[in-house]
C-alpha cells in the first residue's frame, strides 16, 4: 500500500476538493448505460479539460497556419505560440535549453527516436541494453529491434513479489558493458515508482546512457530533468490531460547534437541539393515536416492547467484515493492486489480468483465504471506474476472517494455473479 506520496513525503490529510475541477471536464458529466460515468482508466489516457479543448478551437478558429516558414501574421502567430509552448514545456521539466525539447507523436515515438538515432549509431555487437521486467512494450520492443539489428544483448532487471525492482540484481547486472539503461519511472501495470535518480547515478558511473520512460510519471510527479541528470526522458501528452498524437523527447544537448536525424524532410534541413543535405540545428533536426502544431499548443495548455492546481496537490489526492481504494478492495477476500510497492502512484491492479479480468471489465461497464483489463502492454509483468491479465483502476485528481465506493460495490456484484 502507498504509505508515501509520490513526492516522497507523508500523505497529509488533505482538503483537496475534486469537485472544483470536475466541472472543467465535460466528459465526466456523461452517463454510460444510464449510470454516471466513473472514469478509472486514466493510466490508459486521461480526460481533457475544457481549457485545452478551447485552445484547439481558438487555434484553428483564429490563427492556424504552418509554422517557421511564413512572414505573414498568422504564420508568425502560430510560430510564436508553437515555440512559446516549447519554452513552457522546457521550463516545466527544467530542461536547460529549448534545443533539448523535441516534439514527437508520443512516448513510443520518443523512445524509438532514441533507439533508432542514438542506438543505431552508438550500439555495437556485445553491448548490453539493460531494461526492467516492468517496462511497457514501448520501452521493450524498440530495444529488441535494436538488439536484432546490432547484435547487442538485452538484459532484464527482475522484480520482487511486491512489484519493486530488485536493486541488488540491478547492481549486479550493471557493468561497463551496459551501453543503455531503459527504465520506467512509474509502472503503468503495477503503479510502482522506481528510484530512477539513484539508478541514473549508478548507471552513469559505468558510462551507460539512461532513457527514462516518463509516460505515467508526468501526471503525478514534478519532473526536473537536470536534477534527475537523465539523458533521455520520454512522455505523451494524452496521459497528462493533453491531446493524442503528441509527445516529447527530452535529451541532453551534448547527446542530441551528435545524433543523426531520425526522419528526413522539410524543416529539419538547412539546405538541400541532390548532392548534399545540411541538417538544421536542434531541436529542428529531429522535427521533420509540419509538426503537430495544435497538439503542442494543447500540451502546453494542459501542463499549465496541471501547474495551476499544483502537481504536488494532485499527487497527494491521488495517493489518498489509492490508499482508500486499496484498503477497501482488500476487504474483499477473493481479490488479490498485484503490485504492492512501498512507493506507488495511483494505479490499482488486481485479480479475482476464478474470474477473468475481461469479464470483470464488462460487468463493471454495465455500472458505468471504466477500468482497463488485459496485459496493459506489459506482458512481461503478467508473465512474472503468472497471470494472463489484470484488472486495473487508475486514478486522476478528478476522481472521488464516492467513485471508489462505486468500484468496490460493483466488484462485489461480480463476485456474486461468479459464485
Amino acid at each position: 500500500m502507498s504509505s508515501k506520496s509520490v513526492n516522497g513525503t507523508l500523505t497529509p490529510e488533505t482538503t483537496f476538493n475534486p469537485h472544483l475541477y470536475r466541472k472543467d471536464f465535460p466528459v465526466l458529466s456523461r452517463e454510460v448505460h444510464g449510470k454516471p460515468l466513473v472514469y478509472l482508466d486514466n493510466a490508459a489516457s486521461s480526460q481533457m479539460p475544457q481549457q485545452v479543448i478551447d485552445s484547439y478551437a481558438e487555434y484553428h478558429g483564429s490563427y492556424h497556419s504552418n509554422v517557421h516558414r511564413g512572414v505573414h501574421a498568422l504564420s508568425q502567430q502560430a510560430t510564436d505560440e508553437y515555440e512559446g509552448a516549447r519554452e513552457y514545456i522546457r521550463a516545466y521539466i527544467n530542461a536547460s535549453s529549448t534545443k533539448e525539447v523535441i516534439f514527437t507523436s508520443g512516448a513510443t515515438d520518443s523512445i524509438n527516436l532514441v533507439a533508432q538515432s542514438y542506438g543505431r549509431t552508438n550500439i555495437k555487437e556485445g553491448d548490453e541494453i539493460l531494461i526492467t521486467n516492468m517496462e511497457h512494450h514501448a520501452n521493450i520492443v524498440p530495444w529488441k529491434m535494436l538488439c536484432e539489428e546490432t547484435g547487442a544483448v538485452l538484459k532484464v532487471i527482475p522484480i520482487t513479489d511486491k512489484g519493486e525492482l530488485d536493486l541488488e540484481a540491478f547492481e549486479e547486472l550493471l557493468s561497463e558493458k551496459t551501453a543503455i539503461l531503459g527504465v520506467v519511472m512509474v509502472s503503468n501495470a503495477l503503479g510502482t515508482i522506481n528510484p530512477v535518480k539513484e539508478m541514473i547515478a549508478k548507471a552513469h558511473e559505468k558510462g551507460a546512457v539512461v532513457v527514462v520512460d516518463g509516460a505515467q510519471a508526468m501526471p503525478h510527479v514534478r519532473i526536473d530533468v537536470q536534477d534527475l541528470d537523465v539523458d533521455f526522458f520520454a512522455f505523451s501528452a494524452h496521459k497528462v490531460y493533453g491531446p493524442t498524437g503528441c509527445g516529447v523527447l527530452y535529451g541532453k544537448k551534448s547527446l542530441l547534437e551528435e545524433m543523426p536525424p531520425y526522419r528526413g524532410g522539410g524543416d529539419m534541413i538547412l539546405s538541400v541539393s541532390f548532392d548534399e543535405v545540411i541538417y538544421n540545428q536542434l531541436p529542428y533536426k529531429f522535427e521533420a515536416g509540419t509538426p503537430g502544431i495544435s497538439q503542442v499548443i494543447g500540451l502546453a495548455r494542459a501542463l499549465k492547467y496541471v501547474d495551476e492546481i499544483g502537481v504536488e496537490k494532485i499527487a497527494a489526492w491521488e495517493d489518498e484515493l489509492l490508499s482508500y481504494a486499496t484498503q477497501e478492495i482488500k476487504k474483499i477476500p477473493q481479490v488479490k492486489v498485484i503490485g504492492e510497492a512501498e512507493n506507488k502512484a495511483s494505479v490499482l491492479s488486481f485479480v479475482i480468483e476464478g474470474v477473468h479480468p475481461h469479464d470483470i471489465g464488462t460487468i463493471l461497464d454495465e455500472d458505468g465504471i471504466a477500468i482497463r483489463t488485459g496485459h496493459h502492454c506489459a506482458q512481461p509483468v503478467m508473465e512474472r506474476f503468472c497471470i494472463p491479465a489484470t484488472s486495473r483502476a487508475s486514478f486522476a485528481f478528478y476522481n472521488t472517494k464516492e467513485e471508489v465506493d462505486a468500484l468496490i460495490a460493483s466488484l462485489k456484484k461480480v463476485i456474486e455473479i461468479f459464485t
Binding site: 479480468p357 475481461h358 469479464d359 460487468i363 454495465e366 483489463t373 503478467m382 494472463p388 491479465a389 461468479f418
Partner: protein, 152 residues
C-alpha cells in the same frame, strides 16, 4: 443493455461450460492445430482437430486461458463440432458469427444453432464479440492449415 441481461448471459454460460469446459485437453498428435490470439485481453487458445477422409471432425479439443465467454464458447464449439462434417461446421460458424454481431435474431430468423443461441446476448457487448468467436476462428484456421490467427 442492462445489468440483468449481463447477469443472465453470464449465469447461463458459467453454470456449465466455464467451470467445467468440455474437451479441454491436448490431442497429441493432432492432424491439425492452430493458435488463436485475442490481443485485446491477452487471451490465447490452441485448438486441435482430427478430420477423417470423409471430412468428418473425428475429434476436437482446446486448451488455453480465456475469459468466461471465450472459454464457454470454445467448450460448446467442441461439443458441437465433434462428429460433424466440415461443411456443416463452416455453416454454423457463419450463423454463429451473424448471431454475435446481431445480424441473426434467434427469435425471428431460422437457424440451426441449437444451444449456441445463448450467445445472442454478446451482440450488446461489442468489445466481447471477439471473445465469443475466437475459438471458431481458430478452428476454421486449423482446418484450413493456418497456424496463427489474431482477432484484432
Amino acid at each position: 443493455m442492462n445489468y440483468e441481461r449481463t447477469k443472465q448471459l453470464y449465469q447461463q454460460l458459467i453454470l456449465d461450460h466455464n467451470k467445467n469446459p468440455r474437451n479441454f485437453r491436448i490431442i497429441d498428435p493432432a492432424d491439425k492445430e492452430a493458435v488463436g490470439n485475442n490481443p485485446l485481453c491477452g487471451d490465447k487458445l490452441v485448438v486441435y482437430v482430427n478430420v477423417n477422409e470423409d471430412q468428418i471432425v473425428e475429434d476436437v479439443s482446446f486448451i488455453g486461458e480465456g475469459c468466461a465467454i471465450s472459454k464457454a464458447s470454445a467448450s460448446m464449439m467442441t461439443t458441437f463440432a465433434k462428429g460433424k462434417h466440415i461443411d456443416e461446421v463452416n455453416h454454423i460458424f457463419q450463423q454463429f458469427h451473424d448471431l454475435t454481431t446481431g445480424k441473426l435474431d434467434p427469435e425471428k430468423d431460422e437457424h440451426d444453432l441449437g444451444k449456441l443461441a445463448v450467445f445472442a446476448g454478446v451482440k450488446d457487448l461489442p468489445a466481447r464479440v471477439k471473445c465469443a468467436t475466437l475459438s471458431w476462428h481458430t478452428l476454421h484456421a486449423a482446418v484450413n492449415g493456418k497456424e496463427q490467427i489474431s482477432t484484432e
